[in-house]
Amino acid sequence: MSNFLKLIYNEVLKIFIKKSTWIMFALLAIILVGFAFLNNTLVEEYTKDNWKDKLHQENMELQKELDEAKEGSDDFFKEFALSEIERNNYHIEHDIMPLQNGAWSFAHDGSTILGLVSMFTIIIAAGIVANEFNHGTIKLLLIRPIQRSTILLSKYLTVLLFGLFTTIILLFLSLGIGAIFFGIEEMPQIVLEQQDGFTHVSLIKETILKYSYYFVNVIIFATLAFMISVLFRSNALAIGVSIFLLLTGGAIVQFLSDREWAKYILFANTNLKQYANGSPPFEGMTLSFSITVLAVYYLIFITLTWFSFTKRDVAGT
């Protein structure tokens, strides 16, 4: 093994030798199984023979409610009903059956708990340096014939690997659990609403895209937590601040949405999928704008982390 790979191996070992890490994965599995049970009981099933009739029927009911609704009242419902009717018509016209329970649609829904992947990666990122300081083992780690920056890099890459691994684990877990509960769909298609009407894509492609785009979020929050833990050498502070921002980032952007500069906030830019389908929160935001903003934040985070770790004294514990 090359020397650098041995460093990564050490870091991975220190993560997976702890029970708490395994509890995270167990938690993912438990939540997914819970979802599967809920889906099993809640969701109505379309069948190959009756789905078109059912959609027609739904449309008629929606139309009836629309006609009965008074002029000017409840705009929100009207918008929703019209869009549903249009969606149903799209399904019928293109002969695309609405999504049924199955491994891929379950995995697609499973993306709603991708936030947990960010959270778990934050916890690992916050501990990987700070715990060495807490245990005092940082002293024995840094007195080896290895530059501090190399040690830092091995730890940072390990965090990213953990995030990637956990993202993939969530995908496979939800596929697996979905397959066990519902079986696997054949060539599933998903209908998506875009700014200029509806379109359809392969559900498999869409699901993988969703997980992939989300990995940007994982990287950003992991890097943030990693930075805080290196700057303040505190595990708890890094976890607290990062998870707080993970949970409230969207709300912060919303709250400040009337300000011109709000689009420069990190959390307005972490969801790059909004450019593929969906709409960005601010007028005039583009994919390259967001990538530039992310790159600037990222460079600042990495530079601060690097300076703090390589230049500061390791004084009393």
Partner: protein
């Protein structure tokens, strides 16, 4: 003369405008055991942290086998093994896993070498237990094991006797002497208890308030005093006043009374004649002892009251 194992050149350290180390300048040679003694807060740990590169030097330089820790960190540190302050290891891993972990940070350390080191520190039995279940002494041993894993040329042990039982201290003492003699390793041991490390050291450096106030050759100091003309003597005699008078008048030696003993200094050759003349004048002699001034006394003389600044 070959390059010294460790050189400190006018090393200074200032933390938050407070000068903690005020220009340390000393050398430790290959095969030498150097004791680094000083009271709490003297700056021993700070100095050791600078030697191993955990803290930057404010001024001066440190060289290990000629390699500067500032400009050639890798070259310098690969020849150093150390325990800094407490031997802190990963509590959630076994002793063996800890050693494997550190072994991976060097190019080629075999499992055989790790086993060898484990047997040197006599940790074969508990090596596969989690470190969190170790006693302080066991952790100290494991700490020493990781420090010598890569056969360093300079071994730095910050208070290695802390937490060890007398048998453990004796083992370490023997092992360190052996390392120094057979493998030509330079060993730096810090302690605030001189008596614990005196016997394993060739030289002692005494540090106080960030300054090296004395360097003392251990063996020289004992033999040296034996040869001098003034051997300190303690005498238990009865009646004591009469004995005092005889020594003072007959031999022109100044005598003091201390805790029921007579205390005085005389030439070695003169001792038998003093005793003889006392016996002849009907003084009963119960005990004659030459009292060595130990390094410990010297240490206290030098350090005086320890005021922590």
């Amino acid at each position: 003369m070959s390059t010294p194992a460790l050189e400190l050149l006018k090393v200074k350290k200032t933390i938050r405008n407070k000068e903690i180390i005020k220009g340390l300048d000393f050398t430790v040679n290959k095969g030498e055991v150097f004791g680094f003694i000083g009271p709490n807060g003297a700056g021993k740990t700070t100095t050791i942290r600078m030697i191993v590169g955990l803290m930057k030097l404010t001024e001066g330089d440190i060289r290990i086998l000629g390699n500067s820790i500032k400009s050639n960190f890798k070259g310098a540190i690969e020849k150093v093994g150390a325990i800094v302050e407490n031997p802190e290891l990963y509590p959630y891993m076994t002793g063996w896993q800890n050693l494997k972990h550190y072994a991976r940070m060097f190019p080629n350390i075999t499992d055989e070498r790790i086993k060898e080191v484990v047997s040197i520190v006599k940790m074969e039995k508990p090596i596969h237990q989690k470190v969190k279940r170790y006693s302080l002494g066991m952790r100290q041993r494991l700490g020493i094991a990781q420090a010598i894993l890569h056969k360093p040329a300079v071994l730095i042990l910050d208070e290695p006797t802390n937490g060890l039982d007398p048998a453990g201290i004796r083992e370490i003492r023997q092992y360190i002497r052996k390392l120094a003699k057979e493998e030509e390793i330079a060993v730096i041991i810090s302690s605030h208890l001189l008596s614990e490390i005196e016997q394993m050291c060739d030289r002692i450096g005494i540090i106080k308030n960030g300054e090296l106030i004395a360097i003392q050759d251990v063996h020289e100091s004992n033999e040296g005093e034996q040869k001098t003309n003034n051997v300190p003597i303690l005498l238990d005699a009865h009646p004591i006043e009469k004995a005092e008078e005889i020594i003072q008048t007959t031999f022109q030696i100044e005598v003091q009374k201390r805790e029921g003993f007579l205390s005085f200094q005389s030439e070695r050759e003169q001792i038998p004649s003093i005793i003889q003349s006392l016996v002849q004048q009907d003084i009963s002699i119960y005990q004659v002892a030459t009292s060595k001034t130990t390094l410990e006394d010297k240490f206290f003389d030098l350090i005086g009251e320890n005021t922590i600044e």
